[in-house]
């Protein structure tokens, strides 16, 4: 016999469905939150990373002599000092901890310096002499597979074909297009930071801002040649992630220096180094062909998608699978031919970023839907609704969508919102160009655009995706108190608050302490794929259920809900740890892409209203309204925050955010020239949140963080097209694309 949550929760506030204050909120606003860059240790030294200035070069020689002579330098290390395996990677171990004979991207780590001061480390670094033989870089993703092989297996990281229905279907109306997506950066505000503290027995404790402690731990231990128990990780204050902290940055480097010198070693990247220190969103070239009948019903979709993985694989394989399996969008199409290739080049490595392959495809398929509507003389929302998938629909992979898929409803919700009025008074803050005073209304044309998107939630393709949670219940100072512990990374999204809310709801205890996230408990899985509320939330919920079972035993024959919890517990400490898994997925067939690859699908729709200064090519997004199904809003305020943030990141990709490269070199590694939206770029949003519970998920939750990033970009570009009449096939849209100069 077990207790139900309802029997325990009568008088507890701050449970699920409410929006209790975040423990980190006020601290962050006041600038008092301790981020990883604030880490400090008595007697610590500072690490610095020498990086390759070339996108592709052979290392002829490295001379450390002068660097080692700099007073205050404790160590200068190269690949020869990596005691374990000098290879790591999320999917393929193809990336050296420190370069050996070749560097494959600008910014690749070549050597490390540990010194008594960051300045000393910088000075010493400049005295390391590396002789390079510069090679011609491979930079074109479309031809990379046939170009100079950059890795032993050639330049193809993964090809995913998806084949469904008639491969030779024909249609009355056909639209084709070629689209490009530029390289977006996560642009998290807290740069990469960590502190490695050696112990007396050859082990190390690493305090680090990351997204996935256990996968870091495994990779670090392998590179150090140490058993897992000698490499312990604790999450430090994370200032945003968005996918950019899934791969290792300085994790191994800091530990190498710490173990080599016997001193606590801190590393922190500055903003410029951060641009070289993490993967970016894959740039893409996408070719699409949509065939429809005269009613707008899609007959077939064909797509060829190229994703530039850059120098190392990172999570390119999974991004490719996403772009392929989600490549036609949230539409019912019987005949599908999709091919997606992820390739190696000498461009910056690309990997995970919010939306993960679905963003690139989303820009292309939604652009195509608008093109189709135009060819048919149809309303762009109507053509989407005619084809909108719904619960029971079959994906191009053959997978049946077995929970809510309210695509048509989301579109109608954003379409039916009242339109913003045209402003009658000139307020520069409302104008394209803003306070820079470029227009008082001259050249300004309004446009409206729509888009909808689909994203898989949680890890796919048969991955054993689980989380571990421990919950303890006891009486402290006469009050029941709970404690929860996981290794799931809080990166700013609010997981700590969600865990507290779940424990309150499940155990009826108001006092809930969340232990620091570390590797002393089992794997919590990655903070990515919009999965933590679902999976770690599910694990915490299950651990609470296990605690309740013990409570019931304590109650013996009594009705437990009638007994006071303090009295019932007495001196007992109930402490339960569980591993919790979502339902299993399957790999996809390598020839046809068929398979039940995904756990859950999330959907969002946007309507964008923009004012475009058509003479200057400047854009003001006037409104960016969204409707999204979240299954169940465990924390309604956090849900809105995710939708606003995701939409803003999509806005960034639509009109400004791009790492520009030339010959493999980054041209704008700074916040002076890599622009992210400000409060004058991002409008206030009207958001409709649907709560159509997924019966397979804890509380019915559906992942929230990524779907709004997918539909925001194409909605804005559609609105700019409506205002300008231009085709606009590349994001970000630059002023030059609008003015033709």
């Amino acid at each position: 016999m077990s207790l139900t949550p309802a029997e325990l929760t009568s008088a507890v506030s701050g449970g699920i469905g409410s929006s209790p204050q975040r423990p980190d909120g006020n601290l962050k606003v006041r600038g008092e939150f301790a981020y990883a860059s604030d880490l400090w240790h008595e007697d610590m030294i500072w690490g610095a990373t020498l990086r390759s200035p070339h996108p592709y070069a052979r290392i002829v020689s490295i001379d450390l002599t002068e660097a080692l002579q700099v007073p205050g330098v404790y160590a200068v290390l190269t690949h020869q000092d990596v005691p374990g395996q000098n290879r790591y990677g999320l999917e393929h171990k193809d990336q050296p901890v420190l370069a050996e004979d070749v560097v494959r991207y600008q910014g690749e780590p070549v050597a490390l310096v540990g010194a008594d001061h960051p300045e000393t480390a910088q000075r010493a670094m400049k005295r390391i002499k590396v002789e390079y033989e510069v090679l011609t870089p491979v930079v074109d993703m479309e031809t990379a597979v046939d170009d100079t092989p950059l890795h032993p297996g050639g330049n193809l990281v993964r090809h995913v074909p998806v084949r469904r229905g008639d491969q030779h279907a024909e249609a009355e109306v056909v639209v084709t297009g070629r689209y490009e997506v530029g390289m977006q950066d996560q642009a998290f505000l807290g740069p990469e930071s960590g502190l490695a503290v050696p112990d007396e027995e050859g082990g190390v404790d690493l305090y680090i801002a990351t997204q996935w402690l256990h996968v870091d731990q495994g990779q670090v231990a392998a590179a150090l040649g140490r058993p897992l128990e000698q490499v312990r990780l604790t999450l430090s204050g994370v200032g945003g992630a968005f996918g950019g902290r899934e791969d290792l940055s300085m994790q191994v480097h800091a530990c190498l220096l710490a173990l080599h010198t016997g001193k606590p070693t801190k590393m922190v990247y500055n903003r410029e180094e951060s641009f070289y220190g993490h993967v970016h969103r894959h740039p893409a070239v996408l070719y699409y062909e949509h065939g429809a009948d005269h009613t707008g019903k899609l007959v077939y979709v064909k797509a060829r998608i190229y994703l530039d993985g850059g120098a190392y694989a990172s999570s390119t394989g999974a991004v490719v699978a996403n772009a392929a399996t989600l490549g036609i969008g949230p539409y019912d199409v019987d005949n599908v031919t999709v091919d997606c290739w992820g390739v190696y080049t000498n461009n910056p490595p690309c990997g995970a970023m919010r939306g993960f392959g679905a963003v690139q495809a989303g820009f292309a398929y939604e652009s195509q839907m608008d093109k189709l509507a135009e060819a048919l003389g149809m309303d762009p929302v109507d053509v989407r609704i005619v084809n909108a998938m719904s619960e029971g629909s079959v994906m191009p992979t053959g997978q049946v969508v077995d929970s809510a898929a309210p695509v048509a409803q989301l579109l109608k919700l954003v379409k039916d919102k009242p339109m913003p009025p045209l402003s009658t008074v000139v307020d520069l803050r409302d104008m394209p160009g803003g306070v820079s005073n470029t227009t008082h209304g001259e050249g300004v044309v309004r446009g409206v655009g729509y888009a909808v998107g689909i994203k898989n939630i949680c890890f796919s393709e048969g991955y054993d995706d689980y989380s571990t949670a421990r919950v303890r219940l006891q009486v402290i100072n006469g009050e029941p108190a709970a404690l929860a512990h996981t290794a799931a990374a809080e990166v700013g999204q609010g997981l700590v608050t969600i865990m507290q809310q779940i424990v309150r709801t499940e155990l009826g205890v108001e006092r809930v302490t969340i232990l620091p996230m570390d590797t002393s408990i089992g794997n919590g899985g990655s903070t990515s794929a919009s999965r933590q509320t679902y999976v770690t939330g599910g694990a915490v919920k299950a651990a609470c259920a296990a605690v309740r079972e013990k409570l019931a035993k304590l109650a013996g024959g009594r009705d437990p809900s009638a007994v006071d919890l303090v009295e019932l517990l007495g001196d007992e400490v109930i402490d339960e740890t569980v591993e919790w898994r979502h339902r299993a997925t399957e790999p996809i067939d390598p020839e046809t892409g068929q398979g039940n690859a995904h756990v859950q699908y999330g959907f969002a729709a946007h309507r964008a209203v923009v004012d475009v200064d058509v003479e200057l090519g400047l854009v003001k997004v006037v409104e960016l309204d969204c409707a999204q199904d979240v299954g169940k809003a465990l924390n309604p305020q956090a849900v809105l925050g995710q939708i606003q943030g995701g939409s803003a990141q999509g806005l960034g990709l639509a009109v400004m955010e791009e790492i520009q490269t030339a010959g493999g070199k980054v041209r704008n590694p700074s916040f002076t020239d890599y622009l992210i939206p400000t409060v004058l770029d991002m409008p206030p949003m009207s958001i409709d949140v649907l709560e159509l519970a997924d019966p397979n998920a804890p509380y019915g939750v559906r992942g929230v963080g990524e779907p709004p990033t997918i539909s925001s970009t194409p909605a804005i570009v559609a609105a700019i097209r409506a205002a300008t009449g231009l085709a606009l096939t590349r994001v970000p849209v630059r002023p030059e694309h609008i003015t033709g100069t």
Binding site: G433, G434, S436, Q660, R667, D673, P677, D681, P735, T741
Partner: protein, 290 residues
């Protein structure tokens, strides 16, 4: 690195004479970025923030003398009436925090072609006050900018103030950036009407190795307005006049292609900015004269 902290201007000038390699620092919005990114390691920093006289402005004889240490925020709040163009340009600088720290003196010292206040200083006919232990001299803004981040100061000189003619005549400043706030100029433009001299000032920023005046555009428009007696009895400007003015402004620029924008776009945008700002300034002037 030595950190020199003079309390008075005299002391500062003596230090600068002794240490010509010392980099002056006021708001630090440029210098600190360069230091933090290790792009620059001067042997000494000369901190000017203790010098009270650099932090004040005064006005007489139709000229406003702005101490080199007066932050943008104060120019916006205190000088908007007298120096409309400079206040508008100041409003486009960075964020509120940057405007609280940054100064026109610093903008001049950095002499970046993208500096926001330069076009206005050129169009308004400002002069830069440079001082050393040898004395003080006035450098017309037109002669101040020598190359990319190079200016006419001698190594022992400090910028103590900028002198800008006060005016009730319309001025406009406009800047293109690919974000609606907190953005570095892709290109910028300033226009200043000088009815007392039957003259128009016009200058471009971020569109050549230095900020520069659009002299042909100035001459064309001044001649056009004077010959048609429009200073006394202004009429709506012909579209053809505004367009020609825009074209000449664009021709004054010699921009490059870079990450912020193409050369062709910059020229195009300048012609649009010139046309629009002239329209606003002239409408304003017509209203005042009528």
């Amino acid at each position: 690195m030595d950190f020199l902290r003079p309390d008075t201007l005299a002391e500062a000038l003596t230090l600068k004479a002794q240490r010509p390699d010392a980099v002056p620092i006021a708001g630090g919005t440029d210098v600190m970025v360069e230091l933090n990114f290790d792009h620059r390691r001067p042997a000494a920093l000369l901190d000017l923030t203790r010098i009270a006289e650099l932090r004040s402005w005064d006005a007489d004889d139709g000229t406003v003398r702005i101490g080199a240490g007066v932050p943008y925020t104060r120019i916006i709040e205190e000088l908007g009436e007298r120096l409309p163009g400079l206040a508008m340009a100041s409003r486009t600088v960075g964020s509120p925090q940057i405007r609280n720290r940054g100064t026109v003196g610093g903008n001049l010292g950095a002499a970046s072609p993208a500096g926001d206040t330069h076009p206005v200083l050129l169009a308004a006919g400002a002069t830069v006050e440079a001082a050393s232990t040898r004395g003080t001299r006035l450098i017309p803004a037109t002669d101040f900018y020598l190359g990319v981040k190079r200016h006419a100061l001698e190594p022992d000189e400090l910028i103590t103030a900028v002198r800008v003619p006060a005016t009730r005549a319309p001025q406009q400043f406009s800047k293109v950036g690919t974000r609606n706030a907190m953005v570095i100029a892709v290109c910028s433009f300033a226009v200043a009407l000088h009815p007392a001299q039957n003259r128009v000032g016009a200058a471009v920023g971020s569109a050549a190795p230095t900020p520069r005046r659009a002299s042909a555009a100035e001459e064309f428009l001044s001649a056009e307005l004077t010959s048609t007696n429009q200073w006394e009895s202004p009429k709506p400007l012909l579209d053809s006049v505004k367009r020609r003015f825009g074209e000449l402004v664009a021709e004054a620029a010699s921009p490059i292609d870079d990450v912020r924008g193409s050369a062709a776009y910059r020229k195009h945008a300048l012609s649009v900015l010139a046309r629009r700002t002239l329209g606003w300034a002239w409408q304003d002037y017509s209203g005042k004269v009528a």
